[in-house]
Structure formats: C-alpha cells, structure tokens
Amino acid sequence: MSFPWANEYKPAFGLTQWLDEKLPLPRFVYNAVGAGYPVPRNLNYMWNFGVLAGFCLMLQIVTGVILAMHYAANAGVAFDSVEHIMRDVNWGWMMRYAHANGASAFFVVVYLHIFRGFYYSSYKAPREMIWLLGVVIFLLMMATAFMGYVLPWGQMSFWGAKVITGLFGAIPLVGEPIQIWLLGGFAPDNASLNRFFSLHFLLPFVIAGVIILHIWALHIPGSSNPTGVEVKTESDTVPFHPYYTAKDGFGLGVFLLIYCAVLFFAPNALGHPDNYVPANPLSTPAHIVPEWYFYPFYAILRAFTYDFFFIPAKLMGVLAMFGSILVWFFLPWLDTSPVRSGHYRPLFRKFFWFGLIPTMAVLFYCGGAPAAEPFVMISQVASVYYFAHFLIILPLVSSIEKPEPLPFSITEAVLGKDESAVLNANPTAA
C-alpha cells in the first residue's frame, strides 16, 4: 500500500537497476522505511519506540548469539560457564551485562510502545491487526525472557522456573502432566535447562517473523498519529526518510545513553542478588520474585488468596494473570469511541492518567514486594481496577463521553491552518 503521492523508487546506477529487475530488495526497503513511505508529519517522540524495540531485538540477538558461543546449557556447569564469560572471555562481561540489561531495556521500550497505543487508541480500526500482532509479540517476549532468566541457573532461575511452570499445574486434571511435560521431569533440572536454552534461542527469530507481519500490517493503513485524524492530503505527511530516520536517530542516541549508563555503572541494579547463588533445590529463597518486568502480572497472580466457590485460588490467579494480557486482544472492540486520540477524549484521558497509570504503578510495586499484608490487599484493589478499566470502564466511557472537537486535518493541527480545508470542499477525494 501507499498513498498516491508516495515517492517512487528510481534506481540511479546500473547495478541497482539490474538488481531492481532481478530482486527488488532496495525498492522494498525504500518503500518500507525509506523515502517511499509517507508518514504523518505530526508524530511526537512517543512514536520512536517501535524502531527502538526493533533495535533492542537486534541487540539481544547479536549479544545472545555471542553468549551462546561460550555458555554451556548443562545444569552441572551452567552457573560456572556464566562466570567464565564474566571473567575469562574477552569483553564477555560486557556482552552478558548488555544482554541482561538489554532484556530490561527491551521491556521498557515495549511498555512505552504499548501504553502509547493505549493513550492514542492505536488499536482502533483500521489498525486492529497491527495491535493483535503486537500483543502476540509481547507474549512471545515474555516467554523468551522467562526462559532466558532460567539459563544462568542461579537460585532465582531455578525457583522462578519452578513457580512459573507450577502455574500450569493449577489447570484441573491435565495440569500436572502438562507441568511434568514442560519441565521434562518432576522439578526443574537438566532436561528443563536444555529445552529452555533451545527455545530461548529459537523464539527471538519467531518474534522477528511476527515483527515483519506487524510492520506489513502497519503499511496497509499507514502509521497512526497523535491527533487520530487520518491522513487526507500530501501536506499531512512527510517521507519516512529523511524525516523520521533523523528523528529516530536522535531517539536512539538518547536511548543508548540511558541504556549504557545502566549497563556500565549499575548493571546489577535490575537483577536479584539471589541469582548470584547457584541453584539449590534444597534451599528455597525467602522471597521468590520474577524479573521486574513481570511484577504487575505477578501481583495479579498473587492477588487471589481465597478459593472462589469451587474454583481454587491458584487457578483463579493463573486465569487472571493470563487474562490480564489476553484482554488486550479485545481492546479494538471494547473501546467503541469513534475518536482515537486520548488528546480529544476528556473522560478517557482522566481514567488513563488517574486510573490505569497509577494502577499499573501500584501493581508493579506490589509484585516486587513480599506476599504479605498490606501489599496483598493493595494489589487486590488495584487488580479490581485493572480488570474494570478494560472490561467495564472503557466500553462505558466510549458510549457516554462527549469528545472535544478534532482538528480538520493533521496539517491544520501542525500549522494552525490547512489550505485544503478552505479550497477543497471534499477533502476525502484528495
């Protein structure tokens, strides 16, 4: 797809002309992320995070492949092989810290990308498929990150694997066989470590594949924008290159500055000290917590403390935890307001800033806190709001809210006036 005014690729040299006839790869790139892709001219810095997420995936693949050259996925030596990387491999410490903190950076960037989607309702028609694929990518990322955290075979690796695979044990009847099948045994051991390593290596490439679909789906309607008003005329857009390559370049610089500050000066700040203790099946850590990026969902899991009629509390927790992410799949149909951008939705905006965001912050804090009062009760209240926000408040707000007036076009939103609004009575024809 493209808008009719998109620049056309014109190979300038003999070689590129020859290539364009045989395999038009340069044309493909030109149309995907080059001067041939017209993008709304009003994107703010929240639109930088897609490119940054792609960068993080490449960073993880490159550092991960290098780490895999030195790592040994065997329960007897895995922990020591990580220390070997830290001490004896040239620049191994940097690769490992880059990879461990790269996972955190990836999640920071993706959370910002997702919450940008929430605020600007980027999930609405005609962009539902982009959103659905995005949620799939997020689920794949969670699986990949969880299995990656098991690989160093420290205390949190082992007990995290035990707790998370134990979740499947909550499923009635088939739960326990599934759990044993996933682990390849009755408890995490060598078989689990080996398969987690294999899958941890595979899944990033699956993610890369789904990202290609995500971007393909994006190029059909084109990018959304902060006004939520669709592109009407050429003056609403700029070519991706050089405008957004330059803007993304600056964004990448800022991102790398923050990421490298953590990598080189506080590389263990986001980790847990217990994971520098080798895995010991006979010694349970005082507080088993997942990596920080799972805290909100872990808080929801632990919020169910009493059996609900005939449903065991653990099963409720598991259903709710998976449900808390699966609900995102239904957002395009739960939020029926015709206006996209939260910028023009006064009531929606209030629930976003004073409801959803503080709730996520509270769940985040409670997920990392010990499973004791008052944190359990606080996370119960926050979880109620979380589900209510997406499943009850959002549909209600969509039907009762009176949106603020939208600008005529993107051009008007940027320049304060749009000549086509005056000259052309039928802008959709443009």
Binding site: Y243, L257, E373
Partner: protein, 271 residues
C-alpha cells in the same frame, strides 16, 4: 459479543478479587500477623566506604592485597574461592614471581590422579590453578566467597557489617521473644537475615593478621579490607567496566548532539 461478555468477565474477576480481599481483611483484623524477632531486630548493613564505590571509584590495590591476606589467613580455613585462579591475583599488583610463590606456598595442594597407575597424589599449586576447594566438616555450610558481595544486597557493606556485628543477644529481644534464644552452636548477629548463624566471629581481635605495609590491623580495618577484596573477587573487571563506560558515554553524547542537530536541520521547514 465482546461488549456483552467483556463486562461479565470483568465482573467475575472483580467479585473473586473482592472475595479474597474481604477474607484477607477479616483475617488481618481477627488474627493480625504476629511480630517476629527477625522483623524487629534484623539490621540493614552499616554505611561502609570502599575505594571502588561510585562511578569514578577504583580499586585500592594495597587494600586488596591486605584483604587477600585476611582471606588467606582467616577465611580460607572454611571458605572456598573457586572462581579465582592464582594468576588472577596479578591484578592486585603482585609480580609474576610473587604470584608463583603464593601458589606454591598455598596450604591446600592440587589433587592428582595418575591414569596409568591409578594412584592419587598431590602437587604444589601453579599460577594457572584455581584456588583449591576447602572441605569443611563442621556445622553449617560455608558458602563459596567468590560472588558473595554480588549475592547479597549491598554486598561489600553487608560482609563488613556481618564480620563486625557479632554481639550478645539483646535483653530486649529475649524479653519480647523468649523462644528466640540463640540455639547452642549458633551465634547472634543482627546483620544476618535470621539473626543466628553457624559461623563464629572470625575476626576476633586487633593484630590477628600482621600487615606487611604497616597498616594497623584493627577489627574494622581487617573487616573492610577483606570486604574490599571480596568486591574484587565478585567482579574483577569492575575498573575496566567503569573506564569503558565513560568512553562509551562520551562518544554517545557527541553522537546524540550531532543527531539532534541533524534532526533539527532536516525538520526546519516542517514545523
């Protein structure tokens, strides 16, 4: 369909959560959680300053050598240091000859096994050997110390606090929790998570080691020195990491400023 079932699913989770909340609140009121000795008497590590602290901190090699001496003469009786090879000690400022001598004179020898004759024996350590494992038969399991300062919150300060934190059990504790009396064979230390540990105070008095550089071997000095040494064993590449970090940040700062100017220039006619 979604708009019909969505609110129902939302209500289902909300009611189940409120059910848990109500039960939890009732329990919290009727049976409030009893205070524990660990909760009331456990202390966070003291503030201890190390030369390697902060973004500009660097290891103090003289201190690391003193710390190594404390490890060798005190800790090594019970604790292994399996991730450190003798050759690594060159980073503390020892010459090649000194490293070889340290290896050769190390008390625990390397086990050998002759595959032809099947005989087991011993040989002296050489520089490329890792510090031999220590086998401990007494009560408790002395952890390997290579990573101890990374395996505890605020690790360096934790080790120093623990080493100097041994004391009599406070009378107040026994009054409040009569059942929490330190069992025989364990030692009270408020910096330890559950207050009682198997390790008796290892650093018992001034002058326990004799520093060759003339530093006065007070209890605090020895505790801080060995903690500094254990910060090094946990991350021997710490200095290089920070040094690299400054170079990287410097480069990125320049590159980001240039990227900003390029962006501003390109967008000049579009705002």
């Amino acid at each position: 369909m979604v708009r019909l079932f969505g609110p129902l699913v939302g209500l289902f989770f909300a009611v189940a959560l409120l059910w848990s909340f109500g039960n939890g609140a009732y329990t919290a009121i009727t049976e409030p959680a009893a205070p524990t000795a660990e909760h009331d008497f456990h202390l966070l590590p003291k503030k201890v300053h190390f030369a390697s602290d902060g973004a500009f901190g660097k290891f103090d090699k003289a201190q690391l050598q003193r710390g190594f001496q404390v490890y060798k003469e005190v800790c090594a009786t019970c604790h292994s240091l399996k991730h450190i090879a003798f050759r690594d000690l060159a980073a503390l400022g020892y010459s090649e000859g000194e490293v070889k001598a340290i290896a050769k004179q190390w008390g625990t020898k390397q086990p050998t096994f002759d595959v032809k004759s099947g005989e087991r024996g011993e040989r002296d350590n050489i520089a490329s050997d890792y510090i031999p494992a220590v086998y401990y038969a007494g009560q408790g399991v002395p952890p390997d110390l290579s990573l101890i300062t990374k395996a505890r919150h605020d690790g360096g300060a934790y080790v120093a606090s623990l080493l100097t934190g041994y004391q009599e059990q406070p009378a107040e504790l026994l009054k409040k929790f009569p059942d929490a009396k330190t069992p025989d064979g364990l030692y009270y230390n408020p910096y330890f998570a559950n207050l009682n540990l198997s390790m008796p105070a290892p650093i018992t008095g001034e002058g326990q080691v004799t520093y060759s550089d003339g530093t006065k071997a007070t209890v605090d000095q020895m505790a801080t020195d060995v903690s500094a040494f254990l910060i090094w064993t946990a991350e021997p590449k710490l200095d290089k990491r920070k040094q690299t970090g400054w170079a990287v940040l410097g480069f990125l700062l320049v590159a980001t400023v240039l990227a900003y100017l390029a962006k501003k220039n390109i967008w000049a006619d579009k705002h």
